[in-house]
């Protein structure tokens, strides 16, 4: 309990209850303020922050989600230097080669431009050979 100036007012001789003042009821039993829900709010906020910080710290340090280690030996075995992040045929699949001033076709019979996949699929029948470019 606080003491001195901040002790409860009824302990001070100068502020004695007047004879006709009503008897103070027990303050803790009455839901007179919202400090308890405020405490809950604080607790929830603290818990959320702590959980998030702990989880993120643990994950970034230890790596709970599987890292891309399984793909690495396969990439080594097939010997490619590109990833399957973008569908095949898109310029972004092969950023080293596109855009490029060099025409990467192997032969003059092949189309000049590497085929864009979507128009190719939408318009052309599949009974004729298609372009093959690295």
């Amino acid at each position: 309990m606080p003491t001195g100036k901040h002790s409860p007012a009824n302990n001070r001789p100068g502020l004695e209850p007047t004879p006709d003042s009503p008897r103070p009821s027990e303050p803790d039993r009455l839901p007179l303020d919202r400090l308890v829900p405020a405490g809950w709010l604080l607790g929830i906020a603290l818990t959320v922050v702590s959980l998030c910080v702990l989880t993120l710290t643990y994950d970034t340090v230890r790596g709970v989600f599987p890292p891309p280690d399984q793909a690495a030996p396969v990439l080594h075995a097939i010997g490619l230097n590109e990833l399957a992040l973008v569908p095949s045929g898109r310029p972004a699949r092969r950023p080293v080669l596109t855009p490029s001033p060099i025409d990467w076709r192997y032969g003059p019979v092949l189309p000049r431009q590497a085929p864009e996949v979507i128009p190719l699929l939408k318009t052309a029948p599949f009974d004729t050979p298609r372009a093959a470019t690295p």
Binding site: A38, V74, A77, I78, G79, A84, P87, P129
Partner: protein, 382 residues
């Protein structure tokens, strides 16, 4: 002192409860903003980190033959020429390219029997024989048939006998591995021809120093791509996509500005409350502390939760949304097992981007009021 601080935290919580709806709305808005911003940044960061890590397993240098008419197949003997240069430890002629199937374009690659034999992953992969193929999880087949029709310079039909494991999707999602003879036929290459030459060097950091010598050793002009170059291209591509994604942040930043303005307005709106508190013995420091505490009680969990959600969205083991939404996959996107090792700076960056203006707005408005005369605040406030 500690007791007093706890009591003030408690009171800040109580003040927030006077407007629970606004408090919740504020927390949700900040959380969503955080998720939006952090997801984009984390994804870009994770893709760059993962690409870099995976490309370390690829060749150090790739040599392509160039003629005035364009790219040309390379002779398989070119590997011997390359191996004459000290520092080059391995030269592998590669047969690979993009071809189409009735469903979509796929990348085909000729199997290197020795390299495949060394592969010890969960589901061991066997190098395919003629007429068979190993396909990635994103290569579609008709429901009743295991045969795949491939259109290149020729058309061939192969039977899919194995699938690459889904965990390797980042490298194999729409990849078809063929027998070298099938691959040559499909790509229109002669028996001793390859598309290009993949080289491994003894000291990867010094790969660039070998370029002049490599260019000299071949009897025809060549284009040589280094790993560094490949990495840089990927980083640029992600950066460009990130730049486009930044356009999405504009509404987010506007929303943040409005949010901050609302906070300021809320504080200025309660000038008479500040005046009253000062009259009742609250110091400027108490009032600023209360406002900052209130902002922190709302902002910190919202930002932490938003970051957590973004983290789960980007790094969850089975996430495919990024491929579907951002990378152009139509039906099935590769499962991305991304590298979470470098996420911490992004968290700090996003937390800083959001929290600093928010807290600055609160601090500024609180300070401006706290320095005023309580009498003026009481009488001129609303």
């Amino acid at each position: 002192m500690r007791h007093r601080r706890y009591a003030q935290f408690l009171w800040a919580g109580r003040e927030l409860l006077t407007h629970p709806g606004a408090t919740l709305l504020m927390a949700l808005s900040m959380g969503l903003l955080t998720t939006m911003m952090a997801t984009g940044l984390l994804l870009s960061q994770a893709l760059t980190a993962t690409t870099s890590r995976l490309l370390d397993q690829g060749p150090d240098l790739v040599v392509r033959r160039v003629t005035p008419n364009g790219g040309q197949p390379i002779s398989s003997q070119a590997a011997d020429l390359a191996l004459k240069i000290p520092g080059i430890t391995e030269a592998r002629p590669r047969i690979w390219g993009t071809v189409s199937t009735p469903q979509a374009a796929v990348t085909v690659v000729a199997a290197d029997r020795d390299a495949i034999a060394r592969l010890t992953i969960t589901a061991a992969i066997q190098a395919p024989v003629r007429g068979e193929a190993v396909a990635g999880s994103g290569v579609h087949l008709p429901e009743t048939d295991a045969h795949l029709v491939l259109h290149g310079t020729d058309t061939i039909t192969v039977r899919i006998t194995q699938r690459f494991p889904q965990e390797t999707d980042l490298a194999t999602h729409d990849l078809v591995m063929l027998h070298p003879d099938d691959a040559r036929r499909l790509l229109g290459l002669a028996l001793d021809e390859a598309c290009d030459l993949a080289l491994a060097v003894f000291h990867p950091d010094e790969a660039e120093a070998l370029l002049p010598e490599l260019a000299r050793v071949f009897p025809w002009p060549v284009h040589i791509a280094t790993r560094q170059e490949t990495r840089k291209h990927y980083a640029t591509a992600f950066g460009r996509r990130g730049g486009l994604a930044a356009l999405l942040y504009i509404p987010a930043v506007i929303a943040l500005a409005l949010l901050t303005a609302a906070v300021i307005r809320q504080h200025i709106g309660s000038r008479s409350r500040v005046g009253l508190l000062k009259a009742l013995g609250w110091t400027s420091r108490d009032i600023v502390g209360l406002q900052i505490t209130k902002a922190a009680i709302v902002g910190l969990p919202a930002i932490a939760g938003g970051l957590m959600l973004a983290y789960a969205l980007v790094y969850a083991p089975s996430q495919t949304w990024a491929g579907m939404l951002l990378l152009g996959w139509q039906e099935t996107a590769p499962i991305m097992h991304l590298d979470a090792g470098f996420a911490a700076p992004v968290f700090l960056e996003v937390a800083g981007i959001l929290l600093i203006p928010y807290l600055a707005a609160v601090l500024w408005s609180s300070l401006v009021q706290a320095a005023s005369n309580p009498h003026d605040l009481l009488n001129r406030g609303n």
